[in-house]
């Protein structure tokens, strides 16, 4: 189906050696009107690194050097193909600390996470990807190689913030070829603590109260009862409860001990149960593995939405209503990524080999996006399929976004068909209205089909 609409197979795969090579390639591509598609770890779900109409795929995995650990200035400089886990491993072994990384760190590349403008593990305390980086080197479509940001100090000041223009640009503006990442002194301890809840209301209230307390966890992950049930189904040890909150602190022992105490007080007032250390450590070691139970599907469709913390209850209720109405198997996992932002990743387990059923299930992703809008939040990520959301997200701002794209990439060779345009292989745009009503229809179809087991 997808392959009818899009020419997903590139005409050529290139493993570049350095920025200069990429610069030459860009000039060639512009001259010959060939799409260039940068690919990092290929772990992003929205098709960003997949061609829509052939072209040259740049496999950035070949740029995987660790260039320098600079202890004096608290930075590490790497090529973009290095995975976040590798960065974290090297940083840790140098007695330093990386503030945040995606939960896909073993697979996700440094360049990929910047281009998806991600938030992840540690964002609660240290911010999104833009706050983890100091400077980037970018090859522009015209072949120019520029530096954006500053290697040793902050980028904040007057003047357009060039660096952040490329954050979340999904490879549509240029190719990142070098990144300097900001680091911190190593903490004395890292301490994960898990809490379980038998009541959804209290589970959600606890999340909200944590964000309003004067404590600063490093990371907060939340898992709902369905998710835990799926884990038990595949033979893992997960409690039979309605919700689990995994909080991780890092820092000085005395401070962490104090913050943990404050947290425990909040939780116990809401009838949450503190899990033992072994369980908490295990949950922490599972932080990269949100979709462990995928085999039950075996296909999983994953959505991602941002909602205000105070609307979590409504969002959970709304999502669960959709799950019931569509008769699907779905669960909600998420992260709290700042005091007012909950990032939820509801996922549906389905089977792509059953065409009608699984296509119809796609409506779920659209519906939770709508719910997020309704509660003052937003769906995350555009890629190939959700570029139709651009207008809804930015209103008239879309025109400015188009202007930026056109001024940097007037030749439209940088990852065409993404972010600013949903375009099929024949250059036919995916019409926003058609997309929406199509998705709606699929949702109705799924509701008519028998319940998923």
């Amino acid at each position: 189906m997808m392959s009818l609409m899009f020419k997903n197979t590139p005409d050529l795969v290139v493993k570049p050696k350095n920025a200069l090579e990429i610069s030459k390639l860009m000039k060639y591509a512009v001259k010959n009107n060939i799409p260039i598609i940068p690919r990092g770890g290929g772990s992003w779900g929205l098709g960003g690194a997949v061609p829509t109409n052939g072209g040259i795929l740049l496999d950035m995995g070949s740029l995987n050097e660790i260039i320098k650990v600079d202890k004096e200035n608290l930075t590490i400089t790497v090529e973009p193909g290095v995975s976040w886990k590798e960065v974290d491993d090297i940083v840790t072994s140098n007695d330093l600390f990386l503030g945040a990384y995606p939960s896909s760190a073993p697979g996700a590349s440094v360049g990929g996470w910047i281009n998806t403008g991600g938030i992840g593990i540690g964002s609660y305390k240290y911010g999104g990807v833009e706050q983890q980086i100091r400077s980037i080197e970018v090859v522009l479509p015209d072949g120019k190689i520029i530096r954006a940001g500053f290697e040793k100090v902050m980028s904040n000041s007057s003047g357009y913030n060039l660096r952040d223009l490329f954050v979340g640009s999904e490879g549509t503006l240029g190719i990142i070829t070098k990144v300097t990442i900001k680091l911190h002194p190593a903490p004395e301890i890292i301490r994960p603590i898990s809490f379980s809840f038998n009541d959804v209301g209290n589970f959600i209230k606890a999340i909200s109260e944590i964000t309003r307390a004067r404590i600063m966890p490093w990371n907060i992950t939340i898992l709902d009862g369905n998710h835990l049930e799926y884990l038990r189904k595949i033979g893992m040890d997960a409690p039979e409860v309605e919700g689990l909150i995994n909080v991780t602190f890092e820092g000085t022992r005395a401070v962490v001990n104090y913050e943990a105490k404050v947290l425990e007080r909040i939780i116990s007032k809401l009838d949450g149960e503190k899990m033992d250390d072994e369980f908490s450590e295990h949950e922490w070691s599972e932080r990269y593995y949100e979709l462990r139970s995928k085999a039950i599907g075996p296909t999983a469709l994953v959505g991602e939405v941002f909602v205000p913390v105070k609307k979590l209850k409504e969002m959970f209720d709304g999502t669960n209503k959709v799950i019931k109405r569509m008769k699907i198997r779905a669960a909600i996992v998420g992260m709290i990524s700042d005091r007012n932002t909950a990032v939820l990743m509801p996922y549906v387990l389905t089977d792509e080999r059953k065409m009608v059923k699984s296509l119809a299930t796609m409506a779920f992703i659209k519906k939770i996006g709508d719910l997020a809008f309704k509660f003052g939040g937003r769906p995350a990520g555009l890629g190939t399929f959700f570029s139709v959301n651009l207008k809804k997200l930015h209103g008239k701002g879309v025109e400015t976004i188009f202007d930026i794209k056109t001024s940097i990439d007037p030749y439209d060779v940088m990852n065409p068909g993404k972010l600013t345009e949903g375009v099929t292989r024949f250059g036919v745009p995916i019409p926003a209205l058609g997309f929406r009503s199509g998705m709606e229809l699929m949702g109705v179809v799924k509701g008519i089909l028998p319940k998923d087991k």
């Binding site: 770890g41 590798e86 995928k294």
Partner: protein, 398 residues
């Protein structure tokens, strides 16, 4: 291109379960060298999925999805280290999958790689039953001489409690390892015997390369019966490959084994704790330890060899960054070295560099293949750091 009689590869559900998250990518030693997505476990699963789901659409879009020589080469570009399995998001049994896929391909008419075919020819030869030959006299009956490594003066027990399964490499190539093992067992008053000409290749090189028929049909059962006939409940082997095969493969082939399989390092630990093995000489060296994949990730033995090394007086023990379940392959395993020696040695260079970073003066590892390949890697990378088999190392301390 190879025509397949039956295009359905094994374990199809796995291909749909795979998340394509790529956690297996950066930990794959072969991908680390080749750098092509097609060499990653995820890339191979992706292709298998396309193969298993070939449809009319492929014809319409003129997509060529087939098993060609390049693909066969990729499937064999695997050291069977199982690092991919360790990191797999959705718990796929990837190490088994690669073996099943090779077996399926060969059953469907794909030709094994030439060096693997050579292994098969020798192991299946009734006058050899091992992967080696006498190069001066290829026809020579080596099976008859299988037990001739046994040092003079060591008496085998008529009433043994233990069978020492020497393995092909120690029987024919690195006899010193089998001899050290026998000497240590003898010194510790262990009543043991060996299988001599009744010991056939355990089958590891064939099981890893998909050439399974004689092992599943005859060899596994033969070896199990030969051990059983000695009336023992304990088998000890000094080879990580034999250990993994006896412990993990044989029960799947012949059912529950009537004996327990130990790696020599586990057995030495037991002897030391019972005061039967004493280290009398100091070794004043900084040592690091390399986990062989077939002993560690596959065999789940991590502590015993470390226990032995730590208990040798004088030793300063240092660990590498990637150890135990996360250990990095030396590059030799799974029939990879014999087919792709250059890449295998490049993998070893990386591992030796990691060892060098610890400041160690010697790498100790309980696997003859790891020793050979790590030493080749050190040479290739011009790194002055030698590797030594655990047994040889222990012998210096007693």
């Amino acid at each position: 291109m190879i025509r397949l009689r039956n295009n359905q590869p094994p374990n199809i559900d796995d291909y749909y379960t795979c998340l394509q998250c790529g956690y297996c990518k950066n930990v794959c030693p072969v991908y680390n060298q080749l750098g092509w997505e097609s060499a990653t476990p995820r890339g191979k699963v992706y292709w298998l999925k396309q193969l298993s789901g070939k449809s009319l659409m492929d014809k319409i879009l003129r997509r060529k999805i087939d098993i060609n020589d390049a693909w066969v080469k990729r499937i064999y570009s695997c050291t069977s280290c199982a690092a991919c399995e360790e990191y797999c998001h959705v718990n796929l049994k990837l190490a088994d999958l690669w073996e099943d896929v090779k077996e399926w391909m060969l059953n469907d008419g794909v030709k094994p790689l030439a060096p693997h075919k050579m292994l098969y020819d020798r192991i299946s030869d009734p006058s050899k039953r091992n992967p080696f030959q006498d190069d001066d006299n290829p026809e020579r009956d080596l099976l008859k001489k299988r037990g001739s490594w046994l040092p003079e003066g060591i008496k085998l027990s008529r009433n043994p409690e233990v069978v020492f399964f020497a393995g092909c490499t120690s029987s024919y190539r690195l006899q010193m390892l089998a001899q050290s093992a026998a000497t240590i067992l003898d010194n510790a008053d262990v009543k043991f015997s060996i299988l001599g000409k009744d010991e056939w290749c355990c089958g590891s090189p064939l099981l890893r390369t998909g050439q399974t028929d004689i092992i599943k049909g005859e060899y596994a059962e033969h070896n199990v019966q030969a051990i059983e006939a000695r009336g023992v409940h304990t088998v000890v082997t000094a080879c990580a490959g034999c250990f993994n095969t006896l412990k993990n493969n044989y029960p799947k082939i012949v059912g529950k084994l009537p004996f327990k399989v130990y790696h020599i390092s586990e057995f030495l630990e037991i002897l030391h704790k019972r005061n039967k093995l004493k280290f009398k000489k100091e070794i004043n060296k900084t040592i690091t330890f390399h986990d062989p994949c077939h002993l560690g990730r596959h065999g789940k033995v991590f502590d015993a060899p470390r226990y032995i090394i730590r208990n040798i007086p004088g030793v300063k023990f240092v660990e590498m960054d990637r150890i135990r379940k996360n250990s990095r392959c030396c590059g030799a395993g799974g029939g990879f070295k014999i087919a792709f020696n250059d890449i295998a040695e490049d993998i070893a260079v990386d591992r030796v560099k990691e060892a060098q970073a610890t400041g160690a003066e010697l790498i100790v590892t309980p696997c003859p293949f790891c020793v050979v390949n790590l030493n080749a890697g050190a040479k290739k990378g011009n790194i002055p750091l030698k590797s030594m088999d655990l047994l040889q190392f222990v012998t210096q301390a007693i």
